[in-house]
Symmetry: C2
Subunit: 430 residues, 2 copies
């Protein structure tokens, strides 16, 4: 055994202790349940990939953030940066997957960012994607899944905001900007809700070198109502295509019964260059400032990256940390140090077997029941329950047990009641 070293954790990395991990896991279980209720199946890929599978997919900045190294066999490998490129690899290696292939994946990714408030080097992504369908029904299904997830988590006020990248492409064609410059304009426009019109105009002029007529055209576009899109883009094939897709998406949202939580927001641009159609962002209306909690869009050319024909795809990704933070702020999660609902105390060794039996009966009825490990003073056993935030305790002395009874104590209120063992689970609604 090596000489003792100081116990410490890498900066930008986190332990999730039970009081956070329990509600976080509950949230992700609920999310997975909603995904599966729509027919999305789980897919898992390795943490490590050949570096050349990942390099060049996230831009130069992204490449620099890869955890990349040589393994013992001198292979150039890296930890995954997201869940989308591994999906593309799986689709590339398994050409016979039945399409549409609907998968979800909840897993950590690694980026060697400068750690900071809310920015970590290891964080979880939670993606749903539909691969192999160019129907706008697939785009709409991502909206429906997103709305269902938030409703299942108890969020009442939220809005899914949509746009279509084709409209932005048409706009950029009109103001004659293309390539990296176009991406720069999109990134500036994306900031509008945060920095306001004046500052956005300034950035478009200084950073993106747009002239005043071009900037005016951008803002004329941003202020359009959805029904004005067709006339605005009357002379643009791609603009009309984008408008048609957006209108179809809104119609489907109505058919899905979620039209009232969907809004068009033409300023949504999404910084990534691979989107080709619908793009999404999602806001908790009582916590807009935390930013989008679920974002994504259609990317019809990305999945061809490993050779073969390109495959249409659309997906939405849930920001696990940000959504969990939002739920905490909205008081929709409860920290819990222990999953245990009831501590079965141990009076002494002579009644221990009966304590085990009481706990087994509770568990069989679906109640999470823990037997105190040891015997000794009841006060000490209650203290343990208290420090672990266990809400109830069962106390049973030899006399009670002989009558087939136990005492159930509510550790918060201090109230207690005597119950027949057979009626105990019922007190937990089980």
């Amino acid at each position: 055994m090596a000489s003792p070293v100081e116990a410490r954790i890498l900066r930008g990395f986190r332990d999730y202790l039970p009081e956070v991990m329990l509600p976080r896991q509950r949230m992700l279980e609920q999310v997975a349940r909603v995904f599966e209720s729509f027919g999305f199946a789980p897919l898992s890929t390795p943490a490590l990939e050949y570096a050349d599978i990942l390099v060049g997919k996230y831009g130069d900045e992204g490449d620099k953030l890869l955890y990349r190294f040589l393994d013992n066999g001198e292979r150039d490998i890296a930890l995954r940066y997201d869940l989308t490129v591994p999906l593309a690899r799986v689709v590339g290696m398994n050409r016979d997957l039945v399409k549409p292939f609907k998968r979800y994946h909840i897993a950590p990714v690694w980026r060697a960012e400068t750690p900071g408030r809310g920015r970590f080097r290891e964080f979880s992504q939670c993606d749903v994607d539909i691969v192999g369908s160019d129907s706008i029904m697939a785009d709409a299904e991502c909206l429906a899944v997103g709305a269902s997830v938030l409703k299942a988590l108890g969020v009442e006020r939220f809005q899914l905001r949509v746009n279509n990248r084709k409209l932005l492409t048409a706009l950029l064609e009109r103001v004659q900007v293309s390539g990296n410059a176009a991406l720069g304009v999109l990134r500036t426009v994306d900031k509008l809700p945060k920095i306001g019109e004046e500052k956005t105009r300034e950035l478009l002029a200084t950073e993106n070198k747009l002239d005043t007529p071009a900037i005016d055209a951008v803002f004329a576009f941003l202020k359009l109502a959805p029904e004005e899109l067709n006339s605005f883009f009357a002379d643009s094939e791609i603009g009309l295509k984008g408008a048609a897709e957006l209108h179809e998406l809104l119609k489907l949202a109505s058919e899905l019964g979620i039209r009232d939580c969907v809004a068009v927001d033409l300023s949504i641009a999404r910084g990534l260059d691979y989107y080709t159609g619908t793009i999404y962002e999602t806001f908790l209306l009582d916590l807009e400032a935390i930013g989008s909690v679920m974002s994504g869009g259609r990317y019809d050319n990305l999945l061809g990256m490993f050779g073969g024909e390109s495959i249409p795809a659309v997906g939405i990704s849930l920001g696990v940390d940000r959504l969990f933070y939002g739920l905490q702020e909205l008081k929709l999660v409860r920290e819990q140090a222990s999953p245990t609902q009831v501590l079965v105390t141990v009076f002494d060794e002579s009644t221990r077997a009966q304590a085990y039996q009481v706990a087994a009966t509770l568990r069989a009825a679906g109640v999470r029941a823990e037997v105190f490990l040891g015997a000794g003073k009841l006060k000490k056993q209650f203290q343990y329950a208290d420090r672990k935030q266990i809400p109830f305790a069962v106390v049973a002395g030899p006399d009670e047990l002989a009558r087939g009874e136990v005492t159930l104590k509510d550790l918060k209120s201090g109230t207690q009641s005597i119950l027949a063992i057979g009626a105990l689970a019922g007190a937990f609604g089980a």
Copy 2:
């Protein structure tokens, strides 16, 4: 975007496609549910640690298997090798954790082994540990959790085999072997069930350099009945302590109602040098050859590795891959390409909104329902369901829908029935 590279995966790593991932995830969810029913709480730690946290904990061989590298900031880091050392680090960094601290952790670990049949470079571990209790009740709880897990997964014939490291220590003292040589003897004895007595005697003589009286003493020990341990070790304090612990464990197994699936096996040695008391292995009696599916033991000195006082601990670790393989062999898991229970077909655009409504009704009742993405020939929609192993389809034309009815088709048998929409979920027992 980089020029296309070939889609490929690192050797020793695996994708889990939905047909395997779905039942695997169901298994792990069930395991987690059992862990929580005993009061174990989830803990999560990062994939990456400072290398010096891990190095020197797994022996020289283990150190060589670490995925260890310098990050962009020249920090010497490594991927975790197991879940026990990270637990020790967490305990070292959080001295105020309420004890006993009962945690579980299901997560991948990485070892740069030579890949081979059943040996992977990334695989999942699934550990429960009780930290901070020296009561044999904690040792017994690990047995109870293990038995409950296997029962919950539908395994009927299994055996938890126990031994106590103190007995082996006493035996090794008697034959005057210590240090690394002692560990070598334990590893040879561990092979007994696989290689038989004759070969084991041979190895003890040739590899471990034991003389014949010593080898005879080893086999005299191995053949003892539990009730003979006290007289065999009458002159050994540690031997008597081990016997007392083992007897206490068996008594607790009786009180827990699991005595009939627990057996003493004095040949269980476990290769790791950190065990100090109870040790476990678990066999599926209809598949003994696959080896132990759940192993562990008490390790009272390990958690002091990061300075501070040593903390007693006991735990058991489930071999996820091996157990899943066992369940497959026992026909206790069903491969599924999709979680969907019923495909709601789309007759045409005019009835699409109603198809969405039918699916929403089913989902609200807990039935996993997927709407076909598109319209078009029913035959094509049925083919999709068939290829995804979706068992049922709902068909509804405009006339049926006008009557508030749909047709539910069993895609395996081909039988179908007409149901009121309100009665549809009931057909799935929901």
